[in-house]
């Protein structure tokens, strides 16, 4: 029974883990006080994942955090498939998403309401979704109720029914949700940015699909997608929290041991991001949405894959820009009051992911924010980061990582992300050293070589009349597409002919 919490100071949340750092003492003036200095830090104890591969190829990873070690009597579990939206056929974008959404909507032995009833009676819920490179079902439950809850999770992954009635119901829900989501300038700008960056290659489409592609997906497509990718040797089960590893392995064996390995190989995937990136031509694109309450301003450019040797250099570089006290928020929010929050996200994927810096601002200041995003990116390669700035940014990063491990669901998510990318699970315990090892010189070099503004596009969704003139002064080649003429299925993003039959009223 908690009150509804409203209006945070910041939408960003970052956190903890002990860091040795002393801030410069403020000079003492008459009657002025300086903050008391910190005591000696205590080191965190990070959990150690253990794992097994079952004979059918299912990899099972367990991270113990029992009540004896101060944990709550809860367990989180995630079963993920190593493919998601990147394997959607180009004319059927949203297939992975619809397949995942339908898992919980009926199995061979349970109807959709029975699944919901059964899992919620135990106090939990199943969250099934597809993302880039993976599809997953997540669960957090009281540890005393793990056995029946995980049995339901196993059932929905292994025996989904994909009944026509449920497919139609989900399809209609998705279409309605999309009609709301795409009215948000921020969501629309992100969808446009994916096309701008990845064109027609697999990461270019909307993960949910568009109204046109969602309507095209058939039951056969879904059944085939499930049969192709949902197989034990293409799956990983991660269990974390209040359970002994030995018990977790036994439970996994019981629920997944007889999951048959599909004959044949798992299809190889070519996301072609690299190919898209070589063809990538920077654009300055405005989607004119006259009814927008704010302009969403994005800078988008190629980032890097998760397994890139520059990964930690990229992560620290991004931390200089992003976070509450990062440069973008300093310049755009704190100094100028232009936005509630500015940030950048370096989303690494199995292949090259996007780098996106963004802020929402009143329509009149859309162009000013766009040039600030550009100039802050440029500054990273123009001049080295001072250590008095860099050290706190590293601390923020390490603290944020520590906090992400605080809950069982967060812990399972971090371990799953490593497993998805075939990285050593022990990396959890080297995170601090990896971050601390990055120098100011590394950042400048990395930013110059791989985060330059020359390969960056600007996307603004907003009321163009308020900012177009000033935008054109900075960028001569501005393209403008009216919201009504936008086609997210096309790499040009423009509707071809005058066909507006698929438009919403």
């Amino acid at each position: 029974m908690t009150a509804i919490k409203i209006f945070g100071r910041a939408i960003l949340t970052t956190f903890l883990v002990a860091i040795v750092l002393s801030f410069a003492a403020t000079p003492t003036f008459a009657q002025q006080e300086t903050p008391p200095p910190p005591a000696a830090p205590r080191s965190p104890v990070l959990p150690v994942p253990v794992e097994k591969v079952m004979t059918n190829g299912l990899r099972v990873i367990v991270v113990e955090r029992t009540t004896a070690k101060g944990g709550m009597p809860l367990v989180s579990a995630q079963l993920f498939i190593k493919n998601g939206g990147e394997v959607d056929p180009s004319n059927l974008s949203g297939l992975a998403n619809l397949t995942a959404a339908l898992l919980t909507e009926g199995t061979a032995t349970r109807t959709a309401p029975q699944i919901a009833q059964a899992i919620e009676a135990l106090g939990g819920s199943l969250d099934a979704r597809a993302r880039w490179d993976a599809s997953s079902v997540n669960l957090t439950i009281m540890s005393s109720k793990l056995t029946p809850a995980l049995a339901i999770l196993a059932d929905v992954v292994r025996h989904p029914a994909f009944k026509d009635e449920e497919i139609e119901r989900q399809r209609q829900q998705l279409l309605d949700q999309l009609s709301v989501a795409l009215r948000q300038p921020g969501a629309l700008a992100n969808a446009v940015a994916s096309r701008v960056l990845f064109g027609e290659t697999p990461y270019g489409h909307l993960l949910t699909g568009t109204p046109e592609t969602i309507k095209r997906i058939t039951r056969d497509d879904i059944v085939k997608f499930h049969a192709t990718y949902y197989r034990p040797d293409n799956a990983v089960l991660v269990i974390g929290g209040d359970i002994k590893a030995a018990d977790a392995f036994k439970l996994a064996e019981k629920l997944f041991g007889d999951w048959q390995k599909t004959p044949g190989m798992i299809p190889t995937v070519n996301t072609s991001a690299r190919e898209a990136i070589t063809k990538f031509k920077p654009r300055v694109l405005v989607i004119d949405k006259p009814d927008a309450g704010q302009a969403a301003v994005l800078l988008v450019r190629p980032g890097l894959p998760r397994k890139d040797p520059d990964y930690f250099r990229a992560v620290v570089t991004n931390a200089v820009l992003s976070g509450f006290s990062g440069r973008l928020n300093q310049e755009i929010r704190i100094k100028r009051g232009l936005s509630y929050g500015a940030r950048s996200v370096l989303e690494t994927r199995r292949d090259i992911g996007p780098f996106i810096a963004s802020a929402q601002t009143k329509n009149q200041t859309g162009a000013e924010v766009a040039s600030l995003l550009m100039s802050e990116l440029k500054r990273l390669s123009d001049e080295p980061v001072n250590d008095t700035e860099l050290t706190p940014r590293k601390a923020t990063l390490i603290g944020g990582f520590g906090s992400s491990l605080e809950t069982n669901a967060g812990l399972v998510g971090q371990v799953a992300a490593l497993a998805l990318n075939n990285l050593n699970l022990d990396e959890i315990n080297h995170y601090i050293a990896n971050v601390q090892g990055v120098t100011a010189g590394d950042i400048q070099k990395f930013a110059g070589a791989r985060l330059g503004t020359d390969a960056s596009s600007i996307v603004i969704v907003g009321n163009a009349s308020a900012f177009l003139d000033s935008l054109r002064k900075q960028f001569p080649n501005v393209e403008v597409i009216r919201e009504a003429d936008l086609d997210l299925n096309s790499p040009t993003l423009r509707k071809s002919g005058g066909d507006s039959s698929q438009m919403k009223p």
Binding site: L16, P41, K69, E120, S325, Q360, G399
Partner: protein, 474 residues
């Protein structure tokens, strides 16, 4: 070191032979581990609640000020929230944003939120910085000192927050309308985010007056949860907080009483950028501290917690009238709201959605909920509590809510038992008591395209067109 937290939990694990493997199975109820804490009040009125937990080398600090949006000065709606932002600016001893230097820069975090009844500032930090942050929190309580430039730039940030959270999302304006139309007398009728005009009217003098009036030790509760030594903590709190004087003036309190509703009120509003119609129904509910809050909490869970809940099953799954259908028990210190929010599915009529919500309410009034539903609701609520308490900050917020709004921090331990005792008859009783036809406000929030044109002929034409389109899309 003493270990106060982590009490024995009732967890019986039975092994049974099943298939070819020995596996642990259910039985058993899991209870929420007891949260032990120390509660003391300094002579200047500051209440200090602390709970030691050494499972990670971090500590969460909360300062709950018993002042919220309902205390916004006249003509200054949104002020309490704007003031919350200003608390991160300069003090006599700290430069602007120094709270970020002391938290974020050392691997911690900070944030704050403003609600109707309180304003909460919080930090999570590596535990060796605890003394530093106790000093910093005491400093901004005692010596806030903001200049005009800082004030104006932060006010601009809050205006962008208004645009981002309310002016831009398709149903943002409906959230403002819900507050405005649900209360007639009580200041809860003014949305806490305020309006651009009233934010623009705020001045630095308002900031000073608000700080003097409400930011005082006897209006604050300090909560510390995590890795600390009790004796050491008490000494630091005494050193930095006890020196702040308690003002002699009384703290102003809202005395406005929201009258009972005597007849249903209906409103229809239109918005641009609204793809599908939405409806909101609100009922006045009792304050959070009321005994009926327990049964209402269970009723809320039966109605809309999860996809097996009654509203989801009826409106979203079976009838496919809605894309979302939820109830919200928005508990407050003074009369609260029990809300129903529906965003329609395409081609469906708001009248049908309203009728279905009312039918579900009536069903709750006519027949007791089943034993299985009652049990399910309680399991969902217990799991949510356990999840809240996975973190030190979650525990601190639970303690703050109990101490400040419920007036008894030990309710973090006793409420769960009272929730478990709620019966089907209790749920039926509160459904009958609060969900009368005369206690209802209904808001239809519709796409601009549905707005009737001036003449009746036009109106009919337009309606026809809308119906056709809706039919075609199905």
């Amino acid at each position: 070191m003493r270990r106060l937290h982590g009490m024995p939990l009732i967890l019986f694990v039975i092994f049974l032979l099943s298939g070819h493997a020995l596996v642990p199975t259910v039985s058993a109820q899991t209870s929420v581990p007891r949260l032990n804490f120390k509660d003391r009040t300094l002579s200047n009125g500051l209440r200090v609640i602390s709970a030691e937990d050494h499972s990670s080398p971090t500590v969460a600090i909360n300062v709950w000020y018993h002042v919220g949006s309902k205390d916004d000065p006249e003509g200054r709606s949104g002020f309490a929230h704007l003031f919350e932002h200003i608390m991160f600016k300069s003090t006599k001893n700290m430069k602007s944003e120094m709270m970020d230097r002391l938290t974020e820069d050392v691997g911690g975090m900070n944030n704050a939120f403003t609600a109707d009844d309180m304003t909460v500032y919080y930090e999570v930090i590596p535990s060796n910085y605890l003394e530093t942050l106790i000093w910093a929190e005491s400093d901004r309580l005692a010596t806030l000192n903001v200049n005009e430039d800082n004030f104006k730039s932060e006010r601009a940030v809050v205006e962008e927050e208004f645009r981002q959270s309310y002016a831009t999302p398709p149903y943002g304006k409906l959230r403002l309308l819900t507050e405005q139309k649900s209360f007639t007398v009580h200041p809860y009728r003014r949305p806490g985010i305020g309006s651009i005009e009233e934010l623009e009217a705020a001045s630095l003098d308002d900031v000073r007056a608000f700080h003097n009036t409400y930011y005082r030790p006897d209006n604050a509760t300090l909560i510390i949860v995590g890795d600390f030594d009790q004796k050491q903590l008490d000494a630091w709190v005494d050193k930095y907080f006890a020196r702040i004087p308690k003002p002699s003036a009384p703290i102003p309190r809202i005395t406005a009483k929201e009258p009972e509703r005597t007849s249903e009120k209906r409103y229809t509003e239109y918005g641009t950028n609204v793809p599908l119609p939405a409806i909101t129904l609100t009922y006045l509910a009792p304050p959070e501290a009321s005994d009926d809050a327990f049964a209402l909490t269970v009723a809320d869970a039966v109605l809309s917690n999860g996809t097996s809940s009654r509203l989801y099953q009826s409106l979203v799954y079976n009838q496919q009238l809605a894309q979302t259908a939820t109830s919200v028990l928005d508990l407050r210190e003074d009369p609260a709201l029990f809300l129903f929010r529906v965003i329609l599915a395409s081609g469906k009529k708001p009248e049908d959605a309203e009728r279905s919500v009312l039918a579900e309410i009536k069903r709750m009034q006519d027949e007791p909920v089943t034993a299985a539903e009652l049990d399910k609701a309680k399991n969902l609520l217990v799991t949510a509590q356990l999840r809240e308490r996975e973190t030190n900050n979650g525990k601190a917020q639970a303690l703050g809510n109990a101490a400040v709004l419920l007036k008894d921090p030990n309710r973090v331990n006793t409420d769960i038992e009272r929730l478990q005792k709620v019966t089907a008859a209790d749920v039926q009783r509160v459904m009958r008591k609060y969900f009368s036809d005369t206690n209802r406000v209904v808001i239809y929030y519709l796409p601009q395209s549905m707005k009737p044109a001036a003449s009746a002929a036009n109106m009919n034409e337009k309606k026809q067109a809308t119906d056709d389109k809706a039919g075609a899309r199905r």
